[in-house]
Amino acid sequence: MSARPSPDAVPGAPGPPDPGAVVAGPAGTPRTADPVAPLLRLQGVGAGYDDDLALRDVTFAAAPGDRIAVLGPNGGGKTTLFRVILGELAARTGTLDVADDVAVVPQTERSRLDFPVSATDVVLMGTIAGRPWWRGPGRRDRKAAREALVAVGLGDRADATFGALSGGQRQRVLVARALVRQARILLLDEPYRGLDTASVQRLDELISTLAAEGRTLLIATHDVAQARAWDQVLCLNGRQVAYGPPAATLTAETLAGTYGGELLRVDHDGELAVVAEHHCS
């Protein structure tokens, strides 16, 4: 059962606490009573687009502060899992419990670089769903957008044209757009694609900061070395191959089960490394 709020939830509406309501700055405090209760719990979840399930047997629980690498080949079910958690795709089997608002950080290549918008304009897009149709962004929305940009380290680039920013900066603007929605569950779709080393490091720090503030982050990635630095690893290849801490999941056996024929190399200073196909689906 999903606890996602309706898309048109009105912020500040009277009544019981609404998980979709915008109640604080982007670095908002956890709103659930129990700070360690799982934000996300999947039990035997399967989903797909036609008669065959694209993803099956997904069972895990994610607590606030968890940074979870989602590893898997293209077509392995990462996007399907994200769509199920977002509520865009119904789970055909199992149960899904989403305890807070979910926001997705898409790949920057999917957005329009020729679009004449500033970084602030892009972040403000995250505030639309919380407002009635007839109302434009208000002072509170602009303040939240500014704070979100400061939170991702781009306070000084608020007026820059989105398409003129570097890949890493664009990625952080999209993170800010997710933050402004006050979601505590963030889904990042291959955020490291095309970033240089300095940008990778900044994004790493940002992800750790956001997790430390009580959010759960699922990060779809191909980078096993990166995954090793995080709290949990979810390996998908049409089904859940493994879930657990990196030391337990990033074994040769699991990776072979995850990547199958795409696994090209397993050798990196005595540790496992994967060079997988990086084509986007």
Binding site: P7, D8, G20, L86, E88, A103, V104, P106, R110, S111, R112, D114, F115, P116, V117, S118, D121, V122, L124, M125, G126, I128, A129, R131, W133, W134, G136, P137, T161, L174, R177, R181
Partner: protein, 291 residues
């Protein structure tokens, strides 16, 4: 070095045409079209809907001819024609083997053909060519009032839809994930294109509507760096083309609709050429020291 007589004659050439009621109504109409075409055009161009904007006027052609045959207002006939076309496109796009562009082109070509058949029938009154080429100089006060009402409706709708159009056009998946419904925004945009087509068709005719809806925004896209400036440029280009086209038509005796469309496209070509030149020049300078 100025020649007072030359200046006076140029001023006369610019001012004289507007003394007649016909040209005044035409001027109001092109201002309305400029606002509609410029603003809506930006979303059409950014949203990749230029093809739909081209197809819709053709698809409504039989409705227009039917209205002319029955003697009812053209706007009404056009609206019925658009509704039928929209339903047919929706039905055609459910055929698994047809993609969206194919179903649109099948429907609009059939509808345009049907309209032409009706127009060529012996019962058709004269003046059907106005439906194809428009008659901005033959508008009544009532026509202009209807256009003004529809334009006002359009401006309000664009203001209300602005944030959603922006988010959906910028990144569709992100908008959906953020709780918006891109499908609803799409339908609203196509409905607005239909209304804009109704506003434009009487003045500019079936064949030139797309030029007004697409070319000013395409020009502005080259020049603008921010949303608001881009939209302002698009409206400016549309107004300039409208007024310039009317003056050209007055002095050169050319068809008004075609003149407006011609000026719009000429401005686009000039700006596009200028932009390519601008992009090419610094590159050459950069290469020069190395060679």
């Amino acid at each position: 070095m100025t020649d007072p007589a030359l200046i006076a004659s140029v001023l006369d050439g610019l001012v004289d045409p507007w003394r007649s009621g016909i040209m005044q109504r035409a001027l109001v109409e092109v201002v309305l079209l400029g606002a509609t075409g410029g603003l809506l055009g930006c979303w059409i161009v950014w949203g990749g809907l230029s093809y739909s904007a081209e197809a819709l006027p053709h698809a409504m052609f039989p409705g227009l001819v039917g209205a002319a045959l029955l003697g009812v207002p053209l706007v009404l006939g056009g609206a019925v024609g658009l509704l039928i076309a929209a339903l047919l496109i929706a039905a055609a796009s459910r055929v698994p083997s047809l993609d969206r562009d194919t179903s649109i082109s099948v429907v609009f070509t059939s509808m345009f053909g049907l309209g032409t058949l009706m127009a060529l029938s012996p019962d058709t009154p004269t003046g059907v060519s106005e439906l194809l080429f428009g008659d901005v100089l033959g508008l009544t006060n009532g026509d202009v009032a209807v256009a003004a009402g529809l334009t006002l409706l359009m401006l309000i709708a664009l203001r209300v839809l602005h944030p959603r159009l922006l988010a959906t056009t910028f990144d569709r998946d992100g908008a959906r994930a953020a709780g918006l419904r891109p499908g609803v925004t799409d339908v609203a945009l196509v409905a607005l294109i239909a209304v804009a087509t109704l506003v434009c068709v009487q003045a500019l005719g079936n064949l030139f509507v797309a030029a007004t809806l697409v070319a000013p925004a395409a020009t502005a896209r080259i020049l603008g760096r921010r949303l608001v400036t881009t939209m302002a440029i698009a409206v400016g280009v549309a107004l300039l083309s409208g007024v310039g086209g009317l003056l050209l038509s007055y002095h050169a005796g050319t068809a008004a609709g075609a003149s407006i469309a011609g000026v719009t496209v000429a401005i686009y070509l000039a700006v596009a050429a200028g932009a390519s030149l601008r992009d090419a020049l610094p590159a050459r300078r950069r290469r020069a020291p190395a060679g």
